[in-house]
Symmetry: C2
């Protein structure tokens, strides 16, 4: 996966792209383009929002990140682990994300595809919840989202 990929346009190393990659690594949960951009700017890295979007799109096309959508439809990005673990359990409070084994779901999807005669069946599986640490006490004490930076 670290192959040079000369198939598409050359990837030119720039400080901005390095910064986006770093920002993605640091918070290894999901993050939106806007959040990453804000974090970079806050860190004193002068990078344009367009560049963040372009870099993320490139990473997405290259298969280096997984993308999910939050409730509002915003895209969230996360580095893809080694092979194909692409399903996550995401904490709605703090953004913590756990890769989960979705073998059962993969097999289920294949079975559905076969049973229905559909082709090129793709699946989206996202789990969200509240992690043990964010376990809501009572309504009066909201946990405030610690992911906010």
């Amino acid at each position: 996966m670290t192959t040079h990929e000369t198939s598409r346009a050359e990837w030119r190393a720039t400080p901005q792209r390095a910064a986006v990659l770093r920002a993605l690594h640091v918070r290894d949960g999901f993050a939106s383009a806007q959040t990453l951009h804000a974090a970079l700017v806050a860190d004193g890295v002068p990078v344009g929002l367009s560049t963040v979007y372009r870099t993320l799109r490139f990473l997405e096309a290259a298969g280096h990140v997984d993308v999910v959508r939050d409730r509002e439809g915003e895209r969230l990005y996360r580095f893809r682990s080694a092979d194909g673990h692409r399903h996550y359990l995401l904490c709605r409070e703090c953004g913590l994300s756990l890769a989960v084994d979705a073998g059962d779901v993969e097999r289920w999807a294949v079975r559905i595809a076969r049973d229905t005669g559909f082709h090129a069946v793709d699946h989206t599986v996202e789990l969200t919840g509240v992690c043990a640490r964010c376990r809501p006490g009572r309504p009066g004490r909201p946990g405030r989202r610690p992911e906010e930076a």
Copy 2:
């Protein structure tokens, strides 16, 4: 629970709302607000886009429709069937939607929740593909027409 629901503002019957409901019924696959609005206008029903959106939001809040997002992030609405069948296999070409049995996935989600200690785990499961009728080229397999569930 899903009875009269007088809990929120009264639902006042209007021609526009009736039209949106009708439009949703007619195409009982998923449809976007924009698509519904266009269809209504084309049918000579003068209804504003805002009203379509507002009606759909109301239906969503009342739990009468299921909502998924297509690849571009557009919201697609569909009447929710009686019980709780909320997972669909959607044809990317024609929009045909099949309700699929997701019992396995439901159980898988519950198991994941238990194993991870997460609370209030919610799941999103969407299957998309190309139905037999829309299958491009590839002659030889007279795909059976899946029945709308």
